[in-house]
């Protein structure tokens, strides 16, 4: 079994890959000692190789991981394995958002990372609240601004022919629908378990260790 672990800002995801398929995954809060938490999560799999990605990847390599890859490469690999026709990946997580262009073999051709800058959004929300704007409208505005930022990043990097949406925010159906509306004719796919795509990509990378 090959294991990928994605140590993100908010949560840790582990994915197990065997015979070209995702066979298991788990998700836990990051906690205060993320690398220790991650080590506990991957231990039961008795992995042949472990590849770590996400903010905690370097620490994971010091403690237990065989190799590391960036979230960029991990999301590219994960999406390409599930949705081979996709050329553009949007990943919105707890800390930042990424747009990744893939070539036809699933290799990263270009990418962009932006901070979501939640502090600014928070002050805007407070000011809306204090102008007496109803909560439904404020919530909608927040979602809409996230969608606008994603579209702006996509336009900057090039939307491509087909887009996949991964990361925790892809579970938010309202944001997904808003992005879909803004994309018009370009298809937007949310893979099953969008949260574990990074870990899945790392697990696939683990299965290829030693190949090259």
């Amino acid at each position: 079994m090959f294991v990928g672990v994605d140590i993100g800002s908010r949560s840790i995801k582990a994915a197990a890959w065997q015979d070209d398929a995702l066979v298991d995954y788990r998700i836990e809060e990051s906690g205060f000692e993320p690398h220790e938490q991650a080590r506990v999560m991957v231990t039961p799999y008795q992995a042949i190789n472990i590849v770590a990605t996400g903010y905690g990847r370097h620490l994971a390599k010091e403690h237990f991981a065989d190799q590391i890859i960036t979230e960029i490469k991990a999301h590219g690999m994960g999406v390409h394995a599930l949705l081979p026709s996709v050329t553009t990946v949007v990943d919105v997580g707890g800390q930042d958002s990424k747009v990744i262009s893939l070539d036809t073999r699933g290799k990263v051709a270009n990418f962009q990372i932006n901070s979501m800058c939640t502090v600014f959004a928070e002050s805007e929300v407070i000011s809306m609240k204090n102008r007496g704007i109803p909560r439904e409208q404020i919530a909608r505005a927040v979602h809409s601004s996230v969608a606008d930022r994603i579209i702006a990043m996509l336009n900057r990097l090039g939307v491509g022919e087909s887009v996949a949406f991964s990361g925790g925010v892809a579970k938010n159906s309202c944001v997904v629908q808003m992005v879909r509306d803004r994309l018009g004719n370009i298809p937007l796919t949310v893979p099953e378990n969008p949260i574990v795509i990074g870990a899945l990509g790392a697990a696939i990378a683990a299965s290829r260790l030693g190949e090259a």
Binding site: Y55, I69, T70, I72, V108, A109, F111
Partner: protein, 431 residues
């Protein structure tokens, strides 16, 4: 040199006489020393000849400053600068010294922000803050600061700085049309008059010719160093070459050239013996863009920390400083000043429009350096480089050169994200 023993030497009495904030500066000295030990002395397998440059850092706040003070005592002009447009030959011909001022550190930015707007370039803020906080011995030791009009932030900051230290502003043209060249020549002559007034004597033809040779030689040894590091595998780290390019701005030029030549001889031997700093097969990256003033080693730390090696800096602290030479075939004062003007007009700063030469230069240096990708590095709010970046990006796309743009400042805030971006770029190159 042992990294645990490394310390930047303290000269509290000298600092006191320079009117510095001694207590605070002493803390900054310790911080810089730690930073240097961490970034530089932890490198494995460095060339022995880097010892001289380690010592230039150990003496950055003392030994070199004392040399400036001694020169001033003898009535020689000492001029502070931030820009490669300063006609150094003229300063040298007057027996004077040109010295790059502090402007590469986060530590002085809060001082600047008590006065200047926050949303301007960190280099301008850092430099201004060093003067406001009285925490740069060089600022305290100069006769005057040479300012120029290469960007709006600098141009307007000189007006404020002038109240703290005399600042002579040269107008840098924005185009390379004939009228602009004539204007620049008259600015060069004004600058000469200013330097002569400090020196108390006129620059002779002989001294100017000698100064041209000294500067040419300094630039030639830097070219030699850059050519040697282009070897694959490279015999010296990008960090070390960047350090030498930074020290080029404050060291005595004849001694500096001799020391760089000694290093080059050692590098030739390392090339023969196959000695390298990074692992064989390490990704080779070229940096293009804005100057990285000492101690701004942020990008080099990230790239080389990730196992790659930087093989070229297309930057003012880099090739833009040394790529162009002057002819040495004599002539009278007027013709040498004309030749000097045309040499400086070849500098492809983004303050010019159009600036097609720079696009070609970037591509040429990419070719010569044997790099596998280009990182364009800009400082926040540096509009001219940030916008010119678009043209560099387009050129790289057309040539199929892996390319990434980084806009950053001196704060450590974005290091985590930059680390991910740099590593992802290296993954892209590797595939």
């Amino acid at each position: 040199m042992n990294s645990e023993k490394f310390e930047i030497k303290a000269y509290p009495e000298m600092w006191e006489t320079l009117g510095m904030d001694v207590e605070r500066f002493d803390k900054m000295r310790l911080m810089l020393g730690d930073m240097y030990a961490q970034s530089y002395l932890s490198q494995k397998n460095r060339p022995d000849c880097m010892g001289y440059f380690d010592n230039m850092i150990a003496e950055i706040h003392g030994g070199r400053v004392q040399e400036l003070l001694d020169a001033r005592q003898k009535g020689k002009p000492v001029i502070g600068t931030f820009c490669v447009y300063i006609p150094e030959e003229i300063v040298l011909a007057a027996g004077g010294i040109c010295v790059g001022l502090c402007g590469g550190s986060q530590g002085s930015i809060p001082d600047a922000e008590t006065i200047l707007p926050r949303n301007i370039c960190p280099m301008v803020k850092s430099a201004f803050g060093f003067k406001v906080g009285k925490v740069c011995p060089y600022f305290q030791a100069v006769d005057f600061v040479y300012g120029e009009t290469t960007c709006d932030a600098k141009k307007k900051t000189w007006e404020i700085l002038d109240k703290l230290v005399p600042t002579h502003v040269m107008e840098i043209p924005q185009t390379k049309r004939p009228a602009a060249v004539d204007m620049w020549l008259s600015e060069v002559k004004d600058f000469r008059d200013k330097v002569e007034s400090i020196a108390g004597s006129e620059i002779t033809l002989e001294n100017l010719q000698e100064a041209v040779k000294v500067m040419n030689n300094k630039r030639k040894v830097l070219q030699r160093l850059n050519t040697l590091r282009h070897t694959d595998p490279t015999p010296v780290s990008g960090k070390d070459v960047l350090l030498i390019e930074q020290i080029a701005f404050y060291d005595e030029p004849v001694r500096f050239a001799a020391k760089v030549n000694e290093l080059c001889a050692e590098l030739e031997q390392r090339i023969d013996e196959g000695v390298t700093v990074q692992k064989r097969g390490a990704a080779r990256v070229m940096v293009a863009g804005v100057p990285m003033a000492l101690p701004n080693w942020k990008l080099h730390n990230l790239v080389e920390g990730a196992g790659a090696v930087i093989v070229n800096e297309e930057s003012c602290i880099g090739t833009r400083y040394y790529k162009d030479l002057m002819t040495e075939d004599g002539g009278d004062m007027e013709s040498i000043l004309r030749e000097l003007t045309s040499r400086y007009m070849k500098i492809d700063c983004s303050c010019f429009t159009p600036n097609d030469e720079r696009i070609d230069q970037v591509l040429q240096e990419y070719e010569e350096s044997g790099a596998q990708g280009i990182i364009h590095y800009s400082l926040q709010f540096c509009h001219t480089y940030n916008i010119e970046e678009i043209r560099i990006r387009e050129a790289c796309k057309k040539e199929g050169i892996p390319y990434m743009f980084i806009e950053s400042d001196y704060s450590p805030e974005d290091v985590g994200q930059l680390e991910t971006r740099v590593e992802a770029f290296l993954e892209q190159i590797a595939e």
